[in-house]
Amino acid sequence: MSRRNLLRGAAVGAGAITLPSLLAACGSGPGGDGKTITMGSNSSDPVPKKAFADAFAAYGKQSKDGRKVKVNTVDHNTFQENINRYLQGKPDDVLMWFAGYRMQFFAKKGLLHDISDNWGSYQGFSPALKAQSTGEDGKQYLTPYYYYPWAVFHRKSVFQEHGYTAPKTLDEYITLAKQMRKDKLVPIAFCDKDGWPAMGTFDYINMRTNGYEFHKNLMAGQEAWTDKRVKDVFDTWRSLLPYCQPGANGRTWQEAATSLQKKEAGMAVFGLPHPGAQFPKAEQADIDFFPFPVINPEHGQDAVEAPIDGFLLAKKSKNLNNKANMESAKDLLKWLATGEAEDIYLAGDPNNIAVSDQADISKYTPLQKKAVELVSGAKQISQFLDRDTRPDFSSTVMIPAIQTFINKPKDVDGLVNSIERQKKTIFATED
């Protein structure tokens, strides 16, 4: 045993003792029969949990070979925090996870099974979806399931009452915000206590100003944060801050969505499920949105921020070494990739939209239909800042940086210098 292995063993042992690894306990399944697939689920909230249960039950019912899914649900945050140890330990056969960089990272570390052969038979997925499911080596690792686009949300009734129209450009957006303030509304509900909600605004201003390619490269660490283009993003954002709800760092997204619901605020940059979760049922139909306004006509409204959730095969799952099991797992993924499977899920959780264009959208709410239109019209689909870059960079550098910017919007130079210095040290650890 080399010294390095010894050290690693000691460290893993220490980690196992000090940080109770709840997930490891869930890894063991029945497995042996080749027909039962274990599923690691991070959907611990009641609504999605029930909707997933419906979908998996439907899979078991339609399977002619008697295949079925055994779900191990773990609290969402616990799942996120333990994903490293989970994937290296005894993972379930199939697990729920995200598209983009956060999937690619694990694919690169050799912790996921290549499912390119499955992709050969998938239908109804756009090229943008395929790109988000593809690792850096050009192979596919993810089966996408649903997504939830981000946009500027508002209440129809408020817009009707005051005669507002959806702004198309940044100037119109600011004019509207000024009018709202005259009408005694907080123009833009704004929150960042949780650390991530304001990232959506940053992403949109960046993609509207500099385009999707720049966003992607910036997130991948290939562009300097001290670049003038990044400073432009912060400068534009600063010009919007006077219209945003003050005290954002002390406000959760639930509180911001509530001020939109109470008609105290006029608009808010959110993902599809956020206002939905805070609006009572009777007022759901009053939610509307418009795409984030144009800043640079060259990029128009090409890019849409729409995080994708889906399914992966864990390489360390012992059951998958068994051919029959592997076949069953791939069969499950194939079924999950159909429009029908997504319909069953979305019937129980209408706050997202299906990725497949074969999904039945006739039962969608008008808001969901509009979201489908928004996504299908997009030239590029971005994930979210924290899904498009290294997780250590987004959580230890970007969250505090954006909160600092909200507190002290004037010192952009100091801010981007600090981000760039930290980025260099973090991206330098790349193998």
């Binding site: 460290a11 994903i83 570390k109 949780d194 002390g250 406000r251 250590d392 959580s395 505090p400 210095r421």
Partner: protein
């Protein structure tokens, strides 16, 4: 203990093989636990702090790079270190003396003292994370009770979002619990003070204050030691309350939070996080060593 003493009385030859086995197990298990739960992780942390590791790939030695990075290039580090010390100072200089004051007042038998005693003790049974949730109900800018009472709707104070303010609000919330804890310990101590001492002081013509500071307080020495240790421990392990409020960001940074931020999660920066943990260890050691030195000196002087 009792085995060895008995063995000592009857002579060393009485150690049978069975005694040795029992001794070995009884001593061995704690030592093993100590090594695996305390020393192992501590030494592993120190070793890992000189490496770069993301939890999956190879471990690479990077020398003191993590520390250089930490001191010069991590904006949250110095605020976190300052907050840890502020936490200690606040609990030690404000909350603990206040707990003592309350204990003295209740011990003197003010009216409704039982009621005060139970009310003040109540928060002690709550976890600090729960105290954090309660603090949010009170201090939240839009929906908090405090702003509602102040009736400040035009420009409400952002108690938890303003990085210059929130640490003080959280310290108040933490002190709410700490004060009750300290009070109950001192109450127990005060009950044990021999009443004849106070009488003697009164006969000698000492005022109330003199009696307390010259006579009663010195006899509380054992309690003082316990309270001191508890205060230091509470201050250094503060984590749950800030994590419950805003994950320990934006003005509520603590070293323990930074360790968690860097180590837990995907693509963890285990080397860097360990370096922060080592700093926290050193800070704690500073207090532990000071305390031990004081104690040993105290023992000798007595």
């Amino acid at each position: 203990m009792s085995i060895s003493r008995r063995a000592g009385r009857r002579g060393p030859r009485r150690f049978t093989r069975r005694d040795l086995a029992v001794l070995g197990v009884l001593l061995g298990i704690p030592i093993l636990l100590d090594v695996f739960i305390v020393w192992g992780p501590t030494l592993a942390s120190i070793a890992l702090s000189f490496t770069s590791w993301d939890g999956i790939g190879d471990i690479r030695w990077v020398g003191t790079q993590n520390y250089e990075n930490l001191f010069t290039n991590y904006p949250q580090f110095w605020p976190a270190a300052r907050h840890n010390l502020l936490w200690l100072a606040f609990l030690g200089l404000v909350a603990t003396p206040f707990g003592l004051l309350l204990a003295v007042l209740i011990d003197r038998g003010v009216r409704f003292s039982r009621f005060y005693q139970s009310t003040l003790y109540m928060p002690v049974v709550l976890s600090l994370a729960v105290v954090g949730f309660i603090a949010q109900l009170i201090f939240s800018r839009d929906q908090g009770a405090l702003n509602a009472i102040l009736g400040d709707t035009e420009k409400p104070t952002d108690w938890l979002g303003d990085p210059d303010l929130n640490i003080w609000m959280i310290l108040l919330a933490a002190a709410w619990r700490h004060t009750g804890y300290v009070m109950i310990l001192y109450l127990a101590g005060l009950k044990a003070v021999d009443a004849s001492l106070k009488e003697a002081a009164a006969i000698d013509g000492a005022s109330e204050a003199q009696t307390f500071f010259r006579v009663v307080f010195p006899t509380l020495r054992p309690v003082n030691v316990i309270v001191g240790v508890i205060t230091v421990i509470e201050a250094l392990r503060a984590f749950d309350i800030v994590y419950a409020v805003n994950k320990g960001r934006n003005g509520l940074e603590l070293l323990s939070v930074l360790v968690t931020d860097n180590i837990i999660g995907e693509a963890s920066r285990i080397g860097f996080g360990s370096a922060i943990a080592v700093v926290l260890l050193l800070v704690s050691m500073g207090f532990v060593v000071t305390y031990l030195v004081q104690e040993i000196r105290g023992e000798k002087n007595r």
